[in-house]
């Protein structure tokens, strides 16, 4: 490649870096061989543009090119096969078959139209029907993910991978586990609606987990370390002294794991719990506590 990469991308020598990218993207969209399956020249041009961007898209390399330290020929990437080279065989059969482009060609009743309608209906190969099932999973299994087996009334047992973060009412698709196809057609899918059983103390709020944490009066007044259950296992949290009922602690990343991003958080709402039976020592202590007699927590409610 001897042409100037700036000419190839059609930009000025002083174009800002982001113009380089947008010029490249524009050309790539136009020239990508898979978006121009019939154009043999597209591949050459696309390579040329990619090589030019390989230099100018990298600020360091661009500077070296500008200084004349490297020429316009980047190292050639190993040759790759484009999808269009295979797609000729995918058109009539294969999983990516799509006849949407001419599905209406078969609507008239002349001889040739049957040629199109046979293809768009795909008589020789028809995908099998999908099958619907539903299953119940435990709250923690849905949050953390698990593997379950469901047995079907009319077929073999089916291994179902419950992905972490599965929501109540979510449908899992098991490709090819539905009814068999006809001819060369692929089998249908199994669609499994997941119902999540409620948990004793966790509730789910989007990707976050909420729970109410009972604490003793001593812990509330003096603070200290407490064990807090979370879906991924208990963690130790330090309470500040004078931690009141209703105070909410956020445990970052201890909520629901989410595919492709950070896990949700756990929100722990504190709740002070007195001992079940009256305690003489506590009663005596509080009777002697003068400030408690003037403290009015209902002050803001009026009346």
């Amino acid at each position: 490649m001897s042409r100037d990469p700036y000419d190839i991308l059609g930009i000025k020598r002083d174009a800002p870096q982001k113009d380089v990218q947008s010029a490249y993207r524009k050309l790539a969209k136009k020239l990508h061989p898979d978006l121009n399956p019939g154009d043999k020249q597209a591949e050459e041009k696309f390579k040329e543009v990619s090589a030019a961007y390989g230099i100018l898209g990298d600020e360091e390399k661009r500077a070296r090119f500008d200084r004349g330290e490297i020429d316009g020929s980047g190292a050639e990437k190993p040759s790759r096969n484009y999808y269009r080279d295979y797609a000729a065989n995918e058109g009539q059969r294969g999983p990516y078959r799509n006849t949407g482009g001419f599905a209406d060609f078969g609507d008239t009743d002349d001889i040739l139209s049957s040629f199109f309608s046979r293809r768009s209906r795909g008589q020789s190969a028809m995908q099998g029907q999908d099958r619907k099932y539903s299953m119940e999973v435990d709250f923690l299994d849905a949050v953390n993910g698990t593997k379950k087996q469901i047995s079907l009334p009319d077929g073999p047992a089916l291994d179902v991978q419950i992905p972490p973060g599965t929501k109540d009412g979510q449908t899992l698709r098991l490709r090819g586990k539905g009814d068999p196809g006809f001819g060369n057609g692929a089998p249908g899918d199994a669609l499994i609606e997941v119902h999540v059983r409620p948990h004793r103390f966790f509730t789910r709020d989007g990707d976050d987990i909420r729970l109410e944490l009972p604490i003793s009066l001593t812990e509330a007044v003096l603070g200290g370390k407490v064990r807090v259950p979370t879906p991924s296992g208990p963690v130790t949290v330090t309470l500040q002294p004078n931690s009141n009922t209703g105070k909410v602690l956020r445990l970052k990343g201890k909520g629901v794991p989410v595919r492709g991003k950070d896990a949700g958080d756990a929100y722990v709402s504190l709740k002070i719990v007195l001992p079940d039976a009256p305690d003489a020592e506590l009663t005596a202590l509080v009777s002697d506590w003068q400030a408690g007699k003037t403290h009015d927590p209902r002050k803001t409610m009026g009346g």
Binding site: R25, P37, N81, Y83, D85, A88, G91, Q92, R97, N98
Partner: protein, 110 residues
């Protein structure tokens, strides 16, 4: 090739692959030993990477392009069969079809 080789060759994460399969952009074969990918799937994966990384398309954009690409190839292969069938006709039948095509083209230009 199996799933790990496929991901290694494309340098993609398992979560990325799951999205692609969920979206129906890739339909690997399901075998007892797991998923099986063909060379055509690999080339398709490279196209998806180009659409995302090179051209900056988002998920709905890739979805749209892949659907249109599949439609395009469906059309191309059907058109190829049709031209093959025409080319096997006698010269005067081919001549008839060609002149009819010419007539249609002139008609549309008007």
């Amino acid at each position: 090739m199996d799933e790990s080789e496929f991901r290694l060759r494309l340098e993609i994460d398992v979560t990325v692959l799951e999205v692609w399969i969920d979206q129906g952009w890739l339909i690997p074969e399901t075998t007892n030993e797991g998923r099986y990918f063909r060379d055509a799937d690999l080339a398709r994966g490279q196209l998806i990477l180009d659409l995302i990384d090179t051209m900056g398309l988002n998920e709905p954009g890739v979805d749209l392009v892949m659907d249109l690409v599949d439609q395009l190839h469906g059309l191309r292969s059907t058109l190829r069969q049709l031209t093959d069938a025409v080319s096997r006709q006698s010269p005067d039948v081919q001549e008839h079809i060609l002149s009819e095509l010419d007539r249609l083209e002139r008609q549309e230009r008007r």
